[in-house]
């Protein structure tokens, strides 16, 4: 064990250390200024992000409870990056918040949970990671303590995810019962086409689908996203979702590869429903967070499309897309959080004439939305193209056609926002908003990422070499 142990688990170890450090800060209560605290935390998170990039050591620990490789390190870095950006964006929101440190403790605990979850090779660890990343998140949803919607969203989050975990656990229990093991590696060859196992697999799958908010298991998403504090929504829609996608890929590819015919079909149906329903709902939303929720549901459809290929390219496309998605979605959420923090306005109609006074923020929003819509030259285009290309390898052209045509529908609602911002006239547009420096940094990171990531072919190739292994 020794240093190897530390290096293999470096992300988790460092996160744990940070959590305890924050706990210590909280108990010590020596730093009174929120701003100082925030700066400290942001710096720590930045170093955590940097640290995540180096000294990568692949390995397996605790008899398969935990393993890691370069792909996972990359995935963890994506999560770290997203968390860092969100932390920067949350600056304005948190600088007056009473429970600042608790926020970070909870947040980093969920991140830790996600790290464990994606590193797990075992259903027990997977389940623990999942719950660790869910339960504190529900508490975070309630973080605007005085806001009705915040508690409503938290209630919906925790109860529906409890229900979903029950379904998932029910499935896991049968998987355990029919194979006698919880270990992915041991279980995989034991999965045969008998109906109870298939049943268990389907229950597990729906559990994942719930977490991914794939239709028809998505209904909690919009309400939770709308009610939660903007930064938490961003976290939910980007980090939480990414981590589930990562583990979902692992589970499908590593564990359930015997069922690939079934899960192709399941994904087929899910993708169709997800993309179509997500779009249909998104086109008539007015609350921008709710709108982004539905748009993120649609995005999940595309991610699943890439995954449905069942190939390494599909996995890399999904991971690549998630990087792009992190930048783009967080950029959009950054602007939303700026606006809602300063003015309390969250409706698309409030954004009319936004461009008159807030040029930079408008462009950030526009670029990020274009990236989400998959419009070149933003990175989203590449992300989506690769997903669709990977998905097309299955030669389900009907599915591909519907997916691609739905990109047009989704363009419509992204353009609605763009239209409100740039085109629509407004007598009283939102005044000039000044965000904190850290928010500005976050936005700059986001648009830089949203523009340049697509051209960074090296990254995609790198992911591809990792997943190809």
């Amino acid at each position: 064990m020794g240093t190897d142990f530390l290096l293999i688990m470096k992300s988790e170890v460092s996160l744990t250390l940070i959590v305890f450090f924050l706990l210590f800060l909280k108990i010590w209560d020596g730093v009174k200024s929120n701003i100082t605290l925030l700066n400290i935390v942001n710096i720590i998170l930045f170093f955590n992000l940097l640290f995540g990039l180096f000294f990568n050591t692949e390995g397996m620990l605790f008899n398969g409870m935990f393993y890691t490789n370069n792909t996972l390190f990359l995935e963890k870095s994506i999560l770290n990056l997203g968390t860092f950006i969100i932390s920067l964006q949350a600056f304005d929101w948190l600088k007056d918040h009473k429970h600042l440190l608790e926020f970070y403790i909870l947040l980093l605990c969920t991140l830790l949970g996600m790290d464990f979850m994606i590193s797990s090779d075992n259903f027990l660890m997977f389940y623990l990671g999942l719950e660790l990343s869910t339960i504190p998140l529900a508490a975070l949803c309630n973080y605007d303590l005085q806001k009705v919607r915040s508690s409503e969203s938290a209630v919906k989050m925790i109860l529906s995810s409890a229900f979903a975990s029950c379904i998932l656990l029910f499935g896991i229990s049968f998987l355990y019962g029919t194979t006698g093991t919880l270990d992915f590696k041991e279980m995989a060859p034991l999965l045969t086409a008998n109906k109870l196992q298939l049943f268990a697999f389907i229950l597990t799958f729906t559990g994942f689908a719930f977490k991914l908010s794939a239709v028809p298991f998505h209904l909690w998403t919009a309400d939770v996203y709308e009610g939660a504090p903007t930064s938490v929504t961003a976290y939910l829609s980007v980090i939480s979702k990414s981590s589930i996608v990562f583990i979902f890929i692992t589970v499908l590819f590593r564990l359930f590869h015997n069922y690939d015919a079934t899960w192709h079909n399941m994904l087929y149906l899910t993708i169709l429903l997800t993309i179509i329903i997500g779009n249909l709902f998104a086109i008539r939303q007015d609350n921008i967070k709710r709108f982004l929720a539905f748009s993120s549901i649609t995005q999940v459809g595309y991610i699943l499309l890439g995954i449905s290929s069942g190939t390494a390219i599909g996995a890399s496309a999904a991971i690549f897309f998630l990087i792009v998605y992190t930048f783009s979605n967080l950029g959009a959420f950054g602007v939303v959080s700026l606006v809602s923090e300063k003015t309390g306005k969250e409706n698309i109609s409030d954004y009319k004439g936004f461009y008159t006074n807030n040029k930079f923020a408008s462009w950030v929003m526009a670029i990020c939305l274009f990236s989400l819509a998959g419009i070149p030259p933003t990175a989203g285009f590449f992300g989506k193209m690769f997903l669709v290309t990977a998905g097309a390898a299955q030669e389900h052209y009907l599915l591909i056609s519907i997916a691609v045509m739905n990109m047009v529908v989704s363009l419509f609602y992204y353009l609605r926002v763009i239209k409100a911002i740039f085109i629509d006239e407004n007598e009283k547009p939102i005044a000039k908003l000044t965000g904190s420096a850290s928010l500005r940094i976050a936005l700059v990171i986001c648009i830089t990422g949203a523009i340049t990531m697509g051209f960074a072919s090296g990254l995609f190739e790198y992911i591809n070499t990792l997943t190809g292994k």
Binding site: A162, C166, F174, G180
Partner: protein
């Protein structure tokens, strides 16, 4: 207890599971919904324990899983109740049907 086998347990847990689901879908009080969740989790525990006992007694995987589920159930219940209480403060009700300010 020769004739009390795995299937008895499984059927029992299965019944409990769906009773829990029924409760979750019908109870209008958030706390009772939470209680239904506990029922469901318990049914799953029975499953794990039964599988461990009857099929795979060589390892204690099922048992440990149950232990962790119980722990998590406790944690989940705690957080859920905290949230419910907070909700109650804001809404002055814990009727799930009335908690629908966000929709469509």
């Amino acid at each position: 207890m020769n004739d009390i086998g795995l299937f008895h347990f499984l059927f029992l847990s299965c019944a409990l599971f769906f009773i829990g689901i029924y409760g979750f879908l019908t109870r209008r009080n958030l706390i009772t919904m939470l209680m239904s969740v506990e029922l469901i989790l318990n049914s799953i525990n029975i499953n794990f324990v039964a599988f461990n006992k009857f099929l795979f007694p060589d390892k204690l995987d099922g048992l440990f899983f149950t232990l962790f589920i119980i722990t998590i159930a406790a944690a989940e219940a705690a957080v859920a109740i905290a949230i419910i209480i907070n909700l109650y403060r804001n809404y002055n009700t814990i009727d799930v049907e009335e908690v629908n300010s966000m929709k469509y």
